[in-house]
Each structure stands twice: as C-alpha cells, then as structure tokens.
Amino acid sequence: MLLELHHIEKRYSGVAALTDGSLAVQAGEVHLLLGENGAGKSTLMKIIAGIVGRDGGQMLWQGREVDLKSPADAAAIGISMVHQESLLAPHLTVAENLFLGREERLPFGWVRRQRMMEAANRLIAEHQFPLRAEWRVEKLTPAGKQLVEICRAILHGSSLVIFDEPTSSLSGSETAEVFRIVKTLRARNVGVIYITHRLDELQSVGDRVTILRDGKTVHSSPLAELTTDRIIQHMVGREVSTIYHRDPLPPGDELLRVEGVNQKGQLHDISLLLRAGEIVGMAGLMGAGRTELCRALFGVDPIDSGRVFVCGREVRLRSPQEAVDAGIALITEDRQITGLALRLPIAHNITLANVRRISRFGLLDGAAQSTAAADFIGRLRIRASSHRQLCGRLSGGNQQKVVIAKWLFRQARVFLFDEPTRGIDVGAKVEVFSLMHELAQSGAAILMVSSEMPELLQVADRILVMREGRITAELPGRTTQEEIMRYAALESVSEEIR
C-alpha cells in the first residue's frame, strides 16, 4: 500500500468534521473519493496534504507511520494536491507559478528565467496543454488555472497526486484532457486520489471507490462492484431519485426580452425571450460567451448596443444595482468571490440584497431579519447551526442555497443561474433543481447556464446554444447531447483557455 489512513478524526473548534475516516491507496491506481458536501472529503484530503493536522487515527505512508506538519512535509515525501479553488499567485506567470518554491538554488537567489520558461514550455508541450509559460495566471480562466495546478503536481514528480474536483470548472474537451492526464499518471505507477461530484465520469477514470458520509468511511471496494444507484445510496444514506423529472408549465407572460445585444468582442447580436414559468437552458463550451451574457444582463459589463426589456418595460442595465432594481438576479459561478460575504452571518447574506425589507423607519428590525433567515434556512434546508453562523463555514451546496435565498428574499423575477451545480453533490443538486422548479412555478423565469449537458436535458424546457458570442441554435428540451454539441463545438478549442 502506498498510503493508508485508519480511523482519522478531526474536529474544528469542537465541531466534528471527521470521526472515522479510513482510506487505502495503492500505487498505480485511481482511487475515487466520493461523498456529499460536508461528508469530510476535503478535510481528509487536507490531512493527507499536510494542510491541517489530525486529532486522532493513524496515517501510514509506504507502510511507515508519518505525521505531516505542513504541505512542504507532504511534498517532500511525494504527495501533491491539485486544488479545487485555485491557489496560484495571480500576478506571476504560468512558469513562475509552476516553479514557485522549487526554483533552482543559485547564488544570491538568482533566477534563470529563460531556463524556467523553457522547462515549463517543454512540460506544457509534452502534455499538449493549451497554455504558454509566459502567460500571466490572472488572465486565465478557471479551467486554465486548473491546468496550471495539474502541471505543477506533475512537475513535482509526486508518487501520490490528489485531484479535488478537477473537472468541475471544465467542459467537454478539457475534461477528456484531464482524464488523459490521470491515466498517464496511473501508467507511471503514481497513485491518484480523485474527488468528484460528477458521477457520469466515474467509469472513465476510476479503479477503486471509497465513500464518506457524515465524517465516516462507509464503503470501500473496486468500482466494478458498484452501480451508480448503489454509490448514491451510500453517499446519501437513503434512496434518492437520481433522475429529476419535470413537466414543463404552460409559459406565462414575457419577463425578459433581449433584442440584438452586442458587446465588443464578446457578444454578437444576442436575442432571446424568457417567459414566466420557463426554465431555459444555455449550453456551450467554455468561452462561448455564456458567462459574459449573464454578466451583461446583470449590468456588470454593460452592453454596447441592443435593447433589454423586463416585464415589457425597456431597462438600462449599466450596473448590477440597476439590474437588481429591474428584478434580475444572478447566481454566479464563483459564489465565494461574487456571491457571498463569507465573513458575515447567513442572516446578513440572505437579507443583503433587500435590507429595505427588514428596515423600519430607517432602522434594521433584528427580529424580522431572524424570522426571514430562519424561514429560508428551513425552506431551502440549509444545513447550519443557526442563522448567525458565518457563511464561510458552510459547505458548497449550502452556500449555494444561501445565494438563492438572497434572491428569493429580493423577490427577483428573472433568475440567471450560471453553473448552479458546480461543486455541489448529488443530493444538493436535486434540491437545487427542485428549487428552480418551484421558482418557475411561482412565476419566475429562469436562464440556466450549464456545461453539464445531461443536467440541461433534465431541467430545461428549451435549450439555447452559444458559440463564439452568438446564439447558434434554439433546441427543444428533449433534444440530445449530440445535437447540442453540433451547434456548440465546431472549430478552435485551444484558444479558449485564454
């Protein structure tokens, strides 16, 4: 065995994150680690990578007990981690990030930039990544940053690489790329721990599975012995309907109409229509302009020309403030950066977009705030100790629910969901979908951007496809993945990373 963990315990200020985490990984296998958000996967990985210490249990590395005090300790024995949230220095170049902390030791701390660049470019070329060593990391998309993290792990020549949801920000061809990399590592007898929420991708990469639930290891076996349904049962501890089914509602009044919207270099002649009770899907590859469209409709990056109507009235969207006033809500793809104030309590976040509603005579009504927050925590089943808990301590799925609650409290009518299920587990996904369904039923219009085509096919009444800043097709909800791909992907993939 390369790595063995026995009965690992970890508590954060009294709250148990792990009570009995066990895991055994062999060299040359891809070990899938599954579990809902909050099950303890991330904590277990942080312990392996030396980011946090354990409170109990045993960790064996190649049969010998080890105690890792820092990520440097982990790196020294050959463990590296590809993080879900990018831990790169944004102002440095790709090459500088790759070699960060591993620069050649030369007198006076001298750095040989040219050699570093060449080495980085060699590595990038060897793996055919769509990157350049001299690019600055801040200019990269999430997918690009993910690739840099992967490069870094490979470069460090580790014997165990941990992938924490590597494909959650990637689409189509890039995901296939990650699989290829994982397989290459396996062929080189590297052990891989692979965390994912995308059950559809298990079969393409995994050898063995370990499932965590509520801080305990509940199952471990070869992947071949399990069906997807069994896996989900282990994860949630009960049976759930994996297939979310919805009957389209009769479309109501027109809520959002977009006519000939242009934005230089990003959006070209976009027209679309959303009616009350509708869920419209938006498919496309990374960089097709879907996020840009959401940002434009939310006033973040104002449009250059074209007209937008909300509830039949023309609106100008020059700032998020104007969009919110018009009744538009944006659930962004990066909730930690643009969705939530992580250092503030749940209650403050839920009421943030509509503080007026809990104010009386200019003063905040604390009781009204608590009632509203408790109400949403109950309705959306947000798992939290109380409405005073800080959002930073919630799991991804629960954070997403707080973001949705914020817009429900704002009584928005047009909801733009940008990758709403990213980094969310199966159970929470179904809940988010049924929330969207409820929203539609209550008369809202929903535009749902997603890179997960099966989800779009499940949820959307009709599907718009974007490519290179244009809407290239409008398809019925019962279309096929092949049909979507036909309109989404035609040429040029490598440049999209930029």
Binding site: S13, S319, A341, R343, V355, S385
Partner: protein, 327 residues
Amino acid sequence: MSEPAVAATLPAKSRRDRIVLQRLLPFLSLIVLFVALTIASPNFFTSTNLSSVVRQTAVINIMALGMTMIMITGGIDLSVGAILAMGGVVGTMAMEKGLSIPVGVLIGILTGLSCGFANGLMITQLRVQPFIVTLGTLGVFRGTTLIITNGLPVHQIPQQFSYMGEGNMLGVPFVLWILVACAVITHILLEHTRLGRYTFAIGSNREAAVYAGIPVKFHTTAVYAIGGMLTGLAGMIEASRLMTGQPTAGQGYELQAIAAVVIGGGSLQGGEGSVMGTLVGAFIMGLLSNGSDLLGVSPYLQQAIIGAVIILAVTLDEVRKRRTAAG
C-alpha cells in the same frame, strides 16, 4: 421543502463562554488597567485627573469612531490629522470673522465633511487605493491649511468657545457628552441601519456587495464623508482646548486613531470592528499615557509601551479569530 430548520446546537456552552470571554478581553484589560492605576497612584482616581483623561482622549476617540467605519469597509484614512487641523482652523477663522460660536463649529464640521467627501470621491471614482489617496490628501489638506493661515495660528476667538473642550455639564466634561452622543449615533449607524449593513458587506466582500445590487461607491463615499465630519468636530474640540486654530494641529493623530480601532478588534482587511471596541481601544491608550505620566515614566518609554500594547492586542485578537475560525 417545508421541513423545519435544521438547528443543531453545535457549539457547546463552555466553548461559547470562552469565545465571549475572549471577545471581552480588551474591555477586561481596560478595567484591570483602571484598577491597577487606582492602586498604584493616589492621584489617579480623582475627578480632576479622570476629567483630564476624558478631555485628552475625546479628540482621538471621536476621530477613531469615523476611522472605525472607514476601516470596516476595508479602507483607511491617513489624512484625518490634516482634516482635524483644517476643520479647526476654518471654524475658528469663521469666528474670527464675527460669526457666532455654533455657526463656527458647524463650519468646522462641514469643512471636515467636505474633506472626507473628497477622499471618498477620489477613492471610488479614480479607483485608487484609499491608502494612496489619503496619503496624498494628507499633504494637500495640511498644505492648504498652512496656506490659508499663512502658517500662523488663529487667535481671535470668543472666550466662551473654551466651554466646548474645557467646560463641564452636569458635573462631567462637556466633551464626554459629545463623545457619548457621537458613539451612540455611530453605533446605531453601524449596527442598525442599512448604511451599517452595507459597510460590513463592502468590507467583507466588495464584489459580492456589488453583485447584490448595493450602490457600493455611494456608500463608500458616504462613510469617508462621515469620517471627515467626525474629524471636523474633533478639530473644533481641539481648537477649543487650545483656544487657537492651529494649522499644525493633529500631526500623527491618524496613527493613534488607527491604533484605537485596531486594539478594539478592527482589521486592516475590513469587515470587522465595533464602536465599543474602538472606545475601549482609545481609552486603553489614554490610560496608559495618563498612568505613565502619574507614575513618572519617561515619555520616551511611554511611546514604546503603547507601541508594544498595539502589537500585543492585535496578536491576542488574531489568536482568538484563528481559534474560532473553522473550515
């Protein structure tokens, strides 16, 4: 969907008690300091001495209230010392020109407000970091004040003006009433109004505040304007205590105001801070300096002690935050 809230009572009682205790630490140290000084020096717990502590601390305290709001947004204002001088000078010049005392005070306050407003506008419109903008306006405001006074203090001030800084009302210094009023208003603003809520949101995550449709620029500017207004008022108190409009007044006060906020639990990263904390922070510094005077500690050592206390206080606060933070 209609399940009741999952309200697991996670934190154990003892743990909560410890957190409360740690949060009260600055307040407790203030009390300990107070008691220790009472025992150590017979001259400490006298009404004359305590009044003088209040009078000395009030100016920094009132400035620090504004600084608290500014620092909660994640900003900083290095120009408050210069604003204080400008407010004091312009207000006293108005009195010199024959305007009544209340009008003069109002003009001083409005001068401060304008300066703060200018800071806020530049920070939000030019998108330059607050540190840089106010480093610049520190020079601009100070220079302007020296130009309009020709570098000379303003002397022709009505006698009654001294009441503001030196008078007593109902047996306590008049400035204490001003301070309490300012503190109560600032506390209400921060904890019970939309402005306060937005102030915390902006400091906690500016992007998220923008995406929530909050007029972030407007509120940020408003916070700097309020900070300037309080500083203008502090400037008038300072002028009243000195009975001159000093163009060189308030040098280095910005650092004392920042120190008070930080000792009271504020953070340079924003999102944290409270009126109570800042008051405690300012009084800890006030008592330290007063106590050192009474005990005959050299003023050189005093500076070193206060500096060390700042580092100690922030270290303890960081330890507390790290303990309570979890993943």
